[in-house]
C-alpha cells in the first residue's frame, strides 16, 4: 500500500484521464431523486456527493441480474462453449461498505470452485473507492464495513484542501501516475486523514449492538412466536435480496433461441424470501412459511458466514430497510432478537 496526496483540482484531471482511456462507471444523478452507477463521458457527470444507489454498483457490473454462462449449438454435433466475457472497466466512487460487499462476493465466487464467469470480469475491473455519505438507515459502522482494507486499486478520501489516496495495486499506481501529480503523504497528511476518519465515523447515526449476536441467534432459533411476529408483515416479495450488495443466490436455467438450433445456459438472481426457493421435486418445501424464510435470511446475513468466513455477510448499507414495502428493519430486528435472549 502506498499513501499519497494530490491537490483538489487533480480530481477532474484524474477523471478526464480515466475517461479518455477506459470505460468508466461512476455515480451520476439520473433523475430528480435517483443516483446510479452508469457509464460517464465527462468529469462533470460524476457526482461524488451521491445519495445511495438502488443497486449496489459492484454487483451490477460483476454479477448482473441475468447473464449467459454457456452457449449450445446443435448442429451435426452438440457444441458447448463457455461465455466468459471480460472487458477492462473502471468502477469509480464506490463506497467502503459496497466495496466490502464486493469483497464478500469475490470470496463466494472464488471459494472451492472458481466461478470464471464472475472472476474473469472481476480481474478486469479497476476499482476506485471513495468515502461516500452514509444514508439515514446506514449502519455500516456497526458492521465494521465503514472502512475498506482491500479490494480496491485506489481509495480516495476528501481531506478538504486535498485528497488522500491509498494505492493498493500497480494498476492503481499507474493510473495515478499517468494522469496527475501525486506526492507521498507526510505525517501531517496522516494526521489530517486520522481526523477525517474520526469525523467520518460520526456520520453513521444508526448503531447496532452485535456483540454475541450470533450466539444469541442460536438461542432464539426455535422461538417460532418471535419469528412469526418479525415476519408477520412480510409479503415475500424479495426486494431486500435484489438491492443487497452481498446477496448472491441464483437459478440456473436453459433457454432455446427461436431458431431452435442454439441454446444458452443462463443464471438469474433468485430470492430466499419467495416460496419457490426451497421447493424440490415432489412439492416438498424446506421453508414453507415467511417466518422460516426471514429467519433464514437473518441467519445467512448474521450467523452463517461468521461460522464459515469469520465475517458477517451484511455490510450495513441499509438498502433492504428502505426497499422493504412492509417496513421490516434488520437493525431493529437485531435488537429485538437480542432483547428476547436477555430477558
Amino acid at each position: 500500500m502506498l499513501y499519497k496526496v494530490f491537490e483538489k483540482e487533480g480530481l477532474k484531471d484524474l477523471l478526464a484521464g480515466i475517461i479518455s482511456s477506459y470505460e468508466i462507471f461512476g455515480p451520476r444523478k439520473v433523475d430528480e431523486v435517483a443516483y446510479d452507477f452508469v457509464v460517464v463521458n465527462k468529469p462533470e457527470q460524476v457526482d461524488l456527493n451521491y445519495k445511495r444507489t438502488t443497486l449496489p454498483p459492484a454487483k451490477k457490473l460483476l454479477f448482473p441480474s441475468y447473464e449467459s454462462l454457456v452457449n449450445f449449438n446443435f448442429g451435426e454435433k452438440i457444441e458447448v462453449t463457455p461465455v466468459v466475457e471480460s472487458r477492462q472497466r473502471v468502477l469509480f466512487g464506490i463506497s467502503p461498505w459496497d466495496l466490502n460487499g464486493m469483497n464478500f462476493l469475490d470470496r463466494i465466487f472464488s471459494t472451492d470452485f472458481i466461478d470464471d464467469n464472475y472472476i474473469a470480469k472481476r480481474k478486469k475491473l479497476i476499482v476506485i473507492g471513495y468515502d461516500a455519505e452514509p444514508s439515514d438507515s446506514n449502519f455500516a459502522l456497526s458492521m465494521g464495513a465503514e472502512y475498506a482494507t482491500g479490494g480496491f486499486d485506489l481509495f480516495i478520501s476528501d481531506l478538504g484542501k486535498k485528497y488522500f489516496v491509498r494505492v493498493a495495486t500497480p494498476a492503481g499506481d499507474s493510473i495515478l501516475q499517468s494522469f496527475i501529480m501525486a506526492s507521498d503523504a507526510t505525517s501531517e497528511d496522516f494526521a489530517l486523514y486520522n481526523k477525517f476518519m474520526e469525523n467520518y465515523r460520526k456520520k453513521f447515526k444508526v448503531k447496532v449492538e452485535l456483540s454475541q449476536f450470533h450466539d444469541s441467534f442460536e438461542a432464539v432459533y426455535s422461538n417460532n412466536e418471535l419469528w412469526e411476529k418479525l415476519a408477520k408483515s412480510c409479503f415475500s416479495c424479495g426486494s431486500c435480496n435484489l438491492v443487497c450488495p452481498t446477496c448472491f443466490c441464483f437459478n440456473v436455467r436453459d433457454d432455446m433461441l427461436i431458431n431452435l438450433r442454439e441454446g444458452v445456459k443462463t443464471r438469474e438472481w433468485d430470492s430466499c424470501m419467495i416460496p419457490e426457493y426451497g421447493l424440490v421435486a415432489g412439492s416438498h418445501n424446506f421453508r414453507p412459511t415467511n417466518s422460516n424464510r426471514l429467519k433464514q435470511r437473518y441467519r445467512c446475513k448474521l450467523k452463517t458466514f461468521v461460522d464459515k468466513f469469520e465475517t458477517y455477510s451484511c455490510v450495513g448499507c441499509g438498502r433492504c430497510v428502505d426497499a422493504c414495502l412492509a417496513k421490516i428493519n434488520i437493525y431493529e430486528d437485531i435488537n429485538s432478537i437480542k432483547k428476547e435472549v436477555n430477558v
Partner: protein, 291 residues
C-alpha cells in the same frame, strides 16, 4: 472485514472456462424400473473425459437436458464401473419428465461428479454395515451397496432395510430378489400397502430397526430416504444407542449449480452440494433445519 481474495483470483486458471459447462454424453440404454422410475445408462462422449470421470459412492451429477434445464441426480451405479454410469430418475419435474421422453442414443449434458461428503467406503471396512433406504432413497445407497458386494470380504455383516409404499414401487426388484437368495447379506423389505402376494413386513422401515442385533461400536449405518423418514429413523437408532459419528445420511435439497455458488442447498453454514450430500449425524446434530 478483512477478505483475502487476491490470491484466490490469481489461482483462477484459464479465462476461457466455466464451471457451468456440461460435457456431452449419450444415453446408451433405458430400463423401466417401476411405472414412475426409469434407469438410464449414460456414457460420456469424449473418451478422455470418460476415463477421468471417477466418482465416489454418494456423489451426484448435474444433468442437462439441452434446452430444458438442469437437475441434480445421485449416481446409483458402482464407482468401479468406468465405462458408463447409471441414473435412476422419477418422472416428477421438467427435467426428469424430459428425460423420460428421451430414447436410447439421445444426447444429454453432464457436469460433475460433485459432493465432498460421500459414503465412508474406506472407514467402514471391517465393520457391520446397515443400509436403511426409503423409496427413491434406494438410488444413492445402491452405489455403496454394489461397491461393498464387489469386495464382500472386507466387511462384516451387511443388512439392507428397504421400505416402499407398495410392492410395485420397489426399485431394482430383480436385483433385490437375487440379494435375498444370498446368505452374505440380510435383506429386510417392508411396504406400507401390501398386495395379496406380499410375504414380507408391512409398515414403515423404522419398524425394522429394533430387530438389529449389532453392537454400536462395531456398526456403521447409512440412511437415505424422503425428508420425513430421517426424523423417525434417528429416534429409533438413538434408542438402540448407535453412535451419531457412525450414522451417515444423504440429504436432499434444491441444488441449482452443484458447485457451492447458488446457495439454494445451504443449511446454516453447510452447503449440501459441497459439504454433502452425505453427512454424519454428528456433523448435523445441532445444525438447525437439517432434519
Amino acid at each position: 472485514m478483512v477478505l483475502e481474495i487476491k490470491d484466490k483470483i490469481a489461482e483462477s486458471l484459464a479465462e476461457k472456462n466455466s464451471i457451468y459447462m456440461p460435457q456431452v454424453a449419450t444415453i446408451t440404454k433405458i430400463n423401466d424400473l417401476t411405472p414412475t422410475e426409469k434407469q438410464f445408462f449414460i456414457k460420456i462422449d469424449n473418451p478422455q473425459l470418460r476415463q477421468s470421470f471417477n466418482f465416489l459412492a454418494g456423489q451426484f451429477v448435474e444433468l442437462t437436458v439441452f434446452g430444458v434445464g438442469e437437475a441434480p441426480f445421485s449416481i446409483p451405479s458402482s464407482p468401479n464401473n468406468k465405462e458408463y454410469f447409471e441414473l435412476c430418475v422419477r418422472n416428477i419435474g421438467s427435467v426428469s419428465g424430459a428425460l423420460h421422453r428421451m430414447e436410447t442414443g439421445s444426447k444429454v449434458g453432464v457436469r460433475g461428479p460433485f459432493g465432498k461428503g460421500v459414503f465412508p467406503h474406506e472407514k467402514i471396512k471391517g465393520s457391520n454395515v446397515v443400509i436403511i433406504a426409503g423409496g427413491l432413497g434406494m438410488a444413492p445407497v445402491r452405489s455403496l451397496l454394489l461397491q461393498m458386494l464387489e469386495d464382500r470380504k472386507s466387511y462384516k455383516d451387511l443388512t439392507l432395510i428397504y421400505g416402499c409404499i407398495d410392492p410395485g414401487n420397489i426399485l431394482y426388484k430383480d436385483e433385490i430378489e437375487d440379494l435375498m437368495k444370498r446368505n452374505d447379506i440380510d435383506v429386510k423389505l417392508t411396504v406400507d400397502k401390501p398386495d395379496d402376494s406380499w410375504k414380507d413386513a408391512v409398515g414403515v422401515c423404522t419398524n425394522l430397526i429394533p430387530q438389529l442385533k449389532y453392537s454400536p461400536e462395531d456398526t456403521f449405518i447409512v440412511v437415505c430416504g424422503p425428508p420425513v423418514m430421517y426424523k423417525f429413523v434417528i429416534i429409533e437408532l438413538d434408542e438402540k444407542k448407535y453412535l451419531p459419528e457412525k450414522i451417515f445420511l444423504s440429504l436432499e435439497r434444491r441444488m441449482e449449480c452443484g458447485v457451492g455458488k447458488c446457495n439454494h442447498c445451504h443449511i446454516g453454514d453447510k452447503l449440501t452440494c459441497i459439504d454433502g450430500p452425505v453427512f454424519s449425524l454428528w456433523e448435523i446434530k445441532n445444525l438447525k433445519e437439517a432434519i
